[in-house]
């Protein structure tokens, strides 16, 4: 325990924890809506787009966030917003955009990269590796600011998000601007995904979004309790994942996801037991 506490003396551990908790919180809140709207794969698709955007940023030697954020937001709006009446249907559109961006990103990095270790760089972007432990103070501030915005959006629009998620046709028939809220959800999703790339890497973001929501749904039965418990589960997993990865020097991203898997199994068992009794 003392050993654990001594880690707090290092600023990079504190930064990682703060950023990790905030990102996990946002991802979990959003995850409930995305899973229920049958958009679980959107996290995966958008993270590939973010990867492609990061590749462009690397090639042009620009700050990754400034390129990745707008491109990912645009992709999210296309996927979530216009989805309903486009000719290419939901899952196909996601698959198309996601593999397309992944391929182009890798291609760009290979052709133009000055780095001698391209596959190492790619692996880092895809799986996160140690990047969360190398966050600077300004990264953490940016992370915190965006997380606060996401949280505020969620609290302010909570009831509307519920109405749009549960029954879009009722909401729009009774005069709620469902399209606007879908776009809002899309933008927030993109922001969370670009943030989460720092934590777990592009390939593992989906896990952060869907696992806490699915775990919470095994046990809880009202929307509010599912949202709150999925946030709590997500934060617990992020904190324990970060500590385990520091102590046993495992990769941060996959350790957090492993923690999520353990929680999911736990919740499934608890859900089964409580249902029987």
């Amino acid at each position: 325990m003392n050993e654990l506490l001594s880690y707090f003396n290092y600023p990079f551990v504190r930064y990682a924890l703060i950023a990790g908790v905030l990102i996990a919180l946002c991802a979990a809140l959003l995850g409930v809506t995305l899973v229920l709207k049958r958009y679980s794969m959107i996290g995966d698709g958008l993270s590939h787009v973010a990867f492609g955007a990061m590749a462009i940023a690397t090639v042009c030697s620009m700050a990754p966030m400034t390129v990745a954020l707008p491109i990912t937001i645009a992709a999210a709006i296309i996927l979530l917003g216009i989805n309903s009446n486009s000719k290419i249907k939901g899952d196909a559109a996601i698959a198309m955009i996601s593999v397309g961006a992944l391929a182009l990103g890798y291609l760009l990095l290979n052709i133009f990269s000055a780095s001698s270790n391209v596959s190492g760089d790619v692996c880092t972007t895809l799986f996160g590796s140690t990047s969360i432990l190398t966050l600077s103070e300004s990264d953490v501030w940016l992370c915190a600011a965006l997380a606060v915005v996401v949280l505020l959006v969620f609290v302010i629009f909570y009831h509307k998000i519920f109405a749009v998620t549960f029954d879009e046709s009722f909401a729009s028939a009774t005069g709620t601007k469902t399209k606007a809220y879908n776009i809002l959800i899309a933008v927030v999703t993109a922001v969370v995904i670009v943030l989460a790339m720092n934590l777990v890497g592009a390939l593992l973001i989906s896990a952060l979004i869907i696992f806490p929501a699915l775990s919470a749904m095994r046990i809880f039965k009202s929307f509010l309790s599912v949202i709150i418990s999925s946030a709590v589960i997500s934060v617990l997993c992020a904190v324990s994942g970060i500590f385990v990865s520091i102590i046993y020097s495992t990769p941060v991203g996959s350790t957090i996801v492993a923690a999520n898997i353990v929680f999911f199994i736990l919740c499934t068992v608890i859900g089964k037991i409580t249902k029987k009794s």
């Binding site: 609290v155 009831h159 509307k160 519920f162 009722f170 909401a171 009774t174 709620t176 039965k221 009202s222």
Partner: protein, 236 residues
């Protein structure tokens, strides 16, 4: 002046008309049943009344200060809802969303309205239960209570008894009649012609063109009803 006045309306997708020459009126307190076979255009008509589609030709007028956000709607169940983790109360309360405007939370009045409607439909004792664990009939009551939270004037129902067993169906029809008697105008889309002839005050029978519009009493005597009812009787 009628509550809804539909004159010379054609409806369809991308300029291809599905239904043409619609002319009918809905008066305050009416119980209009729109019947017709699958693909006859009744769903399209309903979506247009709800303001989700535009007419190709003609016009639809609302009066008595009826606004888009004052229509209660009972849609068909979607795949998403079948395993949705939400309590009955949360769902009924979400019917008040249209009167919230920009306010992020529900007011006391709205919460009372939700409680009142749950009581009216006999679901106040299961308010804390999970929606996905209810029976089909209970789920429809929840959605009906939600629709009542959204309106004091007009209720639009889309095949409200689809998939319900006969007893539950009868109960639901009676409930809808009761709501209608309390002064709320009801428009129901259905392919159950016999129930329409029993409960509705007016019938609109369409099959790409309006075949019949008038009161129930006239409808029962009409050729349209006689020919369809005998066919329908064999099918169901």
């Amino acid at each position: 002046m009628a509550l809804i006045n539909v004159s010379g309306v054609s409806l369809g997708y991308e300029g291809n008309p599905i239904v043409t020459d619609l002319d009918f009126k809905v008066e305050k307190g009416d119980y209009l049943c729109i019947v017709g076979e699958n693909g006859s255009g009744k769903s399209t008509l309903m979506k247009t009344l709800l303001g989700q589609k535009h007419v190709i030709k003609g016009k639809i007028e609302f009066s008595y200060g009826l606004h888009q956000n004052e229509i209660g709607y009972l849609p068909q169940q979607t795949e998403v809802q079948k395993d949705f983790p939400a309590s009955v109360r949360e769902i009924v309360l979400s019917g008040c969303i249209n009167s919230c405007g920009l306010r992020p939370f529900y007011s006391k009045t709205q919460k009372n309205l939700a409680a009142e409607n749950m009581k009216k439909l006999g679901i106040d004792d299961i308010a804390k239960n999970c929606y996905r664990e209810l029976s089909g009939g209970q789920q429809q009551r929840v959605l009906l209570a939600r629709a009542l939270c959204a309106t004091k004037k007009l209720l639009v129902l889309d095949e409200p008894v689809a998939g319900l067993d006969p007893i539950v169906t009868q109960n639901l029809y009676r409930l809808i009649s009761e709501i209608n008697r309390e002064g709320i105008t009801v428009i129901m889309v259905s392919h159950d012609i016999n129930a329409a002839a029993e409960y509705a005050s007016h019938i609109l029978h369409i099959s790409h063109k309006p075949l019949f519009f008038g009161t129930k009493e006239e409808y029962i005597k009409s050729d349209v009803y006689l020919s369809f009812a005998s066919k329908g009787g064999n099918e169901e």
